[in-house]
Symmetry: C2
Subunit: 356 residues, 2 copies
């Protein structure tokens, strides 16, 4: 960056502001490879604005950008999971500023579709990838590390840390949830765990085990059941299992919000009230969860920030293929109406039981 001629004080954003267009449009208009994508009058306005401000594209960056398609591929496992749209918005916020179009593929949690989507997009010459899919094999991902096409992982990492990633500390988040209900007086706390072949499901399960130990809870009184998918139906089935053998529970910590909604459904079927009969905690703090009956206490994951960090990290990798780091964002707990002190911490299922 030791180029005396670069005027660092004038940026692409200044030009965009003067020309009253998106920074992405400036990038396209000033790049000979992409100028045809911008309408002629707009391109002229951008060129005028750039001249007026004395804007000079950074020649080093310009050099790196040669042959760029200015498209990025993003893979999400399930677009109907409300967790992902804000992450996608965060990604786009950052990439569109730099002139990139984001192509999203929903893989439906199907590893065959994930692989096909990656190949299809690679064939269309995307400059890089961001993937939030949990099931893509390490083998396929590791191939990327070698191929030179930058890829950033969201909400999962490779065990050897060889690819850049953005995630939250899932174990710490689950600890927050268990500590919260434990501090309210709960001692019989069940965990509705996510699928164990996903990194988030597995880490949150490990976090639950950690938390049971660190809160001094009785492992026998804190059962775990595993959902086969991060869905409401999966949560309902796993929650029903927790109660199947007449077990006594006063709180459930679910591995995500959709699983917690499945728990709400089971409570309703069993005529139990939340939080009076059972406290429920979710994970992710997805949109609208604060408007539910009752509003769900949840571990907040800064979804849009995760997306923005992933977008920034990919831009770093595009500028310098040797860049790439692991970014961990801290979860927080948002306490709402679905958690309260147990009416009687040792209460059984019969209402006729006398206080101990």
């Amino acid at each position: 960056m030791h180029n005396g001629r670069v005027r660092h004080s004038v940026t692409i954003r200044d030009v965009a502001r003067l020309a009253k267009v998106h920074p992405g449009t400036v990038s396209r208009a000033l790049n000979p490879d992409t100028r045809a994508l911008v309408n002629a009058a707009t391109a002229e306005r951008v060129a005028d604005a750039a001249a007026q401000l004395g804007y000079q594209p950074n020649p080093i960056a310009r050099g790196l950008k040669t042959n760029r398609s200015f498209t990025v591929g993003v893979l999400v496992p399930d677009i109907t999971n409300p967790l992902f749209p804000p992450i996608l918005r965060g990604i786009e916020d950052r990439l569109s500023r730099s002139g990139y179009t984001t192509l999203i593929v929903n893989t439906d949690n199907d590893s065959e579709r994930e692989r096909a989507a990656l190949e299809t997009m690679r064939a269309r010459h995307v400059d890089g990838f961001i993937t939030a899919t949990a099931r893509l094999e390490e083998r396929v991902l590791s191939g990327f590390a070698l191929s030179g096409t930058p890829i950033v992982l969201v909400n999962r990492g490779l065990e050897d840390g060889s690819l850049p990633m953005v995630g939250v500390d899932d174990r710490a988040g689950t600890l927050l949830a268990v500590e919260h209900v434990s501090s309210l007086g709960h001692r019989q706390i069940g965990h509705v765990a996510g699928p164990q072949d996903t990194s988030t499901g597995h880490q949150r399960y490990l976090g639950f085990l950690d938390a049971v130990a660190s809160c001094g809870l009785d492992v026998e009184a804190c059962p775990v059941s595993f959902a086969s998918a991060f869905t409401e139906a999966g949560g309902a089935r796993a929650c029903a299992e927790l109660f199947a053998d007449g077990r006594e529970l006063t709180a459930i910590v679910a591995a995500n919000d959709l699983l917690a909604l499945g728990c709400y459904d089971v409570l309703a079927q069993r005529g139990m009230r939340c939080p009076e009969d059972l406290s429920v905690v979710g994970f992710n703090d997805i949109p609208f969860i604060d408007r539910l009956r009752p509003p769900l206490t949840s571990v907040r994951v800064p979804q849009r920030d995760i997306g923005a960090a992933a977008g920034d990290l990919l831009l770093e990798c595009l500028a310098d293929p040797a860049a790439g780091r692991q970014i961990w964002l801290e979860p927080t707990l948002v306490v709402r109406g679905s958690t309260a002190a147990p009416r009687d911490p040792r209460r059984g299922s019969g209402t006729e039981r006398l206080p101990a």
Copy 2:
């Protein structure tokens, strides 16, 4: 289709079932242009299954498919609006069966980004488009009708009907909403309308005017305020306007669910209860809206069906560029806890008011 050698009884789905793969994988494996996208063992299994069943790809369809990229571009205006993910799933359900990968672009309701996304995808040789964006200029869309790249519109049409589209009857849906609250006894019904430069916003507004007339309501007692965006914040601002001049209302019909949620926020701020003090009706019946406090009465739009119909329609257009029709799906009303009879149809804002 008068080809005697085509065995209509064996389909790509039969081959997929036998080979235990996705129909999309069969399509890729049997197409010389895309075979490299499938792993070798899978391709062989597919070829074996096809041979065993005597499957012969339809040669006419095969001919049409030459030089296909098997990718389709889908434009959505706001991926964080819960209306769109189920539509996207419906689209993918149909297209992936036929071997197509769906590339989604979120345009953030920005016509410059919509145009750039279309151009970017066209440059990447997608075979066709589905667009749910409301603001794309008629001029740009009409260009597609001429260019030969099939495009299907979702939730909007061109005035001259020159492009294939799938939508719901927005006017009929709004009529259902107004008839419902009118039949409960409401006579002072406000409309929180959507942006009038969107087809849905405009049609639902016209539907409200129709309904006021057909239900014999007093136009003066049924005010309208216009939101600048289909968002909770937009709905809250428009709802506050309805009350700004001390007007008396007992029900609000909102042009979509997010606007209705904005109305909920204003009610909470004003210490009013729903439905006791004010009934609220939404439109779209988005996911989770049945879990709100109170559960929202809403005009149900069959989102996944709309997506599926759009996917089917695009496949028709890909097979026969002269195909293309307008598909209208009927909305229905889902009555939930946010609507009830007014306590006193002529009640004002003061609680001390005596019955008339």
